[in-house]
């Protein structure tokens, strides 16, 4: 059986599984978990949160970026896990006690203002949209490889699939479907990692294989060998990287704080039965996420080692084009790998200096990894299914946030209170369609690699929501004027900075290079500065405006201890 048929079968089987569970869960739902007030255990909720959270950026893009960035890739590893500590310690239990379903609801009530609520809705749309734009590229990469079409066609097919998935939408929000998605995703991620770890180092655990000695008889550790290869080929040392300390610090902080401010993640902690469960759910979620996140750097290093080995050959003279490994031939069809024989010797060569003849898109590494290591076809098919599960679940969830925010929060509650339910639904679908088209355009003309674009979304969340929520819980005197001014200042500053250097839809004003950056901080890390701006503006404005009403201060007192937490309520 050829690879393509096998991929259809595996992807089809996983979809059948998700749909089957959705039907089964729905049948049991009326008596069991809706009536019982969402009696989903924190363990299952943690697994579902992990599936919701780990998108194309985590699954497809991150290990590939680490593979090319080495130490610099640590920003994603620490950033996207460290945020859960903030979430568990500083936000989740208090937001759960507050008892509202969405972040704009919390902001609107805590800051006793419809304007604050509207600003929060707009921020949520902006954040979710940037996030989706990153996902579309990831979806496109998967489809283009396995349908053997170029990347543009891949993105367009992906757009269609995501649209139907989101609009039909019944699967989203059913916890047990997401538990199944997590299982598929993590199995698909771990199998090739374990195989390759055994092949290269003899270690079963990729986490220890990363630090182990190579089996090639050289007696060198894998990381030593990669540092050596980097030096020979003119790259920066694998374990050191090239980014400045200030930039690494800022990007990590933006991703951590952004995690704690992402609307679709926070929501998961509103709906657990008790405050206690909100705390422990974050812990379980992080355990399940950590399995993937501690494996990713190993995959990155293995992929780097194998890739250089197969392109440059064991003697480091380059492999003859006629004898190119199949993974290169397969990926050349997508246009994501290109070879240009500059010195005309009929061989391929990959390096970081003028000898380089290869253009390799970083987003393909996780998908190409099992092919590079010549693992059996069923493993490759499994990775495709995992990638599609990761990308679809997150993209569909975010599209629902966007469409309901626009139709319900903006139109129904603000601009056009008189529209009928039918018109509201129509507006929701229309909003989803428009969002997909714009996201698809950005998927075809990406402003960066998947994980980088997703990092912008986190920067926006860090600059807008995080300070407003933290101050809302820990600083009783923060008033509506301060919170609104802070959110606006933070998000406008951050969006402005990203557009200034990246110029999405417009021409950038300045070249995106370290010399031009503010404090040496790249657009990916600027959310950290945006967050500081938000805090300072909010504090200053609150000092010069009216004090917070007493009843709101009393509410803040009430959310600081668990006793008496009721069911979460929608507006």
């Amino acid at each position: 059986m050829d690879l393509q048929t096998l991929t259809y079968i595996v992807v089809g089987a996983t979809f059948a599984l998700y749909i089957g569970i959705a039907i089964w869960a729905r049948a049991g739902s009326t008596q069991e978990f809706y009536v019982a007030g969402g009696g989903v255990s924190p363990l299952a909720n943690g697994m579902a949160t992990a599936a919701d959270w780990m998108s194309a950026a985590s699954f497809i893009s991150m290990a590939g970026l680490i593979s090319f960035m080495g130490y610099d890739g640590s920003v994603y590893l620490m950033g996207w896990t460290g945020g859960y500590v903030l979430l568990a310690l500083c936000l989740a239990p208090y937001l759960r006690k507050f008892g509202k379903f969405t972040v704009p609801d919390f902001i609107g009530d805590r800051y006793y203002s419809q304007t604050a609520r509207t600003v929060a809705v707009i921020c949520a749309i902006l954040i979710s949209f940037t996030y989706v734009a990153g996902q579309m590229r990831g979806v496109g990469v998967v489809f283009s490889r396995f349908l053997e079409v170029d990347i543009t066609t891949g993105v367009i097919i992906g757009m269609a699939v995501v649209f139907f998935y989101a609009v039909l939408g019944g699967m989203k929000g059913i916890t047990y479907t997401q538990v199944a998605q997590y299982c598929v995703l993590i199995f698909a991620y771990m199998v090739p990692a374990v195989f390759i770890s055994i092949m290269i180092t003899g270690h079963v655990l990729p986490q220890t294989g990363l630090g182990a000695t190579l089996l090639d008889g050289s007696g060198l550790h894998l990381l030593e060998r990669l540092d050596g290869l980097s030096a020979e080929l003119g790259f920066a040392a694998y374990t050191e990287g090239t980014k400045s300390t200030a930039d690494i610090f800022a990007i990590t902080a933006a991703l951590m704080v952004g995690t704690a401010g992402l609307p679709h993640v926070i929501v998961r902690f509103f709906t657990v039965p008790r405050v206690k469960d909100a705390r422990i759910s974050a812990g379980w979620a992080l355990i399940f996420i950590s399995i993937l996140y501690t494996t990713a750097p190993a995959i990155g290093a293995f992929a780097r080692y194998n890739m250089i080995d197969t392109i440059n050959g064991p003697d480091a003279q380059g492999t003859l084009v006629a004898e190119a490994p199949t993974w290169i031939k397969n990926w050349e069809k997508t246009g994501l790998i290109k070879h240009e024989d500059k010195n005309g010797d009929g061989r391929m060569f990959y390096s970081g200096d003028e000898r380089n003849e290869m253009t390799i898109d970083r987003d393909i590494m996780v998908l190409a990894n099992p092919e590079i290591a010549q693992l059996p076809d069923w493993v490759i098919a499994l990775v495709a299914a995992g990638g599609i599960a990761a990308a679809l679940s997150t993209a569909a969830g975010l599209l629902l946030v966007i469409s309901t925010s626009i139709s319900h929060d903006l139109l129904k509650r603000n601009l056009m209170p008189n529209i009928t339910d039918k018109q509201e639904l129509l507006a929701a679908r229309g909003a989803a369609a428009v969002a997909i088209v714009i996201a698809g355009y950005l998927g075809i003309n990406p402003p960066g690699f998947v994980a980088e674009v997703v990092a912008f979304a986190f920067g926006l969340a860090a600059a807008s929501f995080f300070p407003a929520i933290i101050l809302g819980i820990f600083y009783k005197k923060m008033n509506k004027e301060g919170a609104i001014a802070g959110m606006l200042a933070g998000i406008i500053f951050t969006v402005g900075y990203i557009l200034y250097f990246k110029g999405i839809f417009i021409t950038p004003f300045a070249e995106n290079k370290p010399e031009n950056w503010l404090f040496g901080i790249s657009p990916e890390g600027i959310g950290t500065v945006g967050m500081a701006v938000n805090f300072v503006v909010a504090y200053a404005v609150s000092k010069f405006t009216k004090e917070v009403p007493q009843d709101v201060q009393d509410i803040v007192e009430q959310i600081r201890f668990p006793k008496g937490a009721g069911e979460a309520q929608s507006h």
């Binding site: 620490m78 896990t81 903030l86 310690l89 000695t213 300390t245 206690k276 705390r279 812990g283 992080l286």
Partner: protein, 88 residues
């Protein structure tokens, strides 16, 4: 009011915030300090085939994060009982 007195409410909140700050100090130490600010110094040390700073940045910080959340959960549950503000 769930607390017997205002003083008790303040004491509970103080203990809560102090626990949170201690754990956040560890959170900062393993990621921003060990993995970023002092990574070059720690990289002089070898640790099971890793440079230590690199290990913190790509492995150690993540394991610590998981531990921190579970310590927080256990300590907070105990604190809730001590002040009798736990849920049933």
């Amino acid at each position: 009011m769930a607390f017997q007195s205002n003083e008790l409410a303040k004491a509970y909140w103080r203990e809560n915030v102090s626990l949170m700050l201690k754990l956040l100090a560890v959170w900062f130490a393993v990621s921003f300090a060990a993995g970023i600010l002092f990574v070059d110094q720690l990289n002089m040390v070898q640790f099971f085939g890793f440079k230590l700073g690199f290990w913190f940045a790509q492995q150690g910080s993540i394991y610590t994060f998981v531990l921190l959340i579970f310590i927080y959960v256990i300590k907070m549950n105990a604190l809730d009982r001590k002040y009798d503000v736990h849920e049933d």
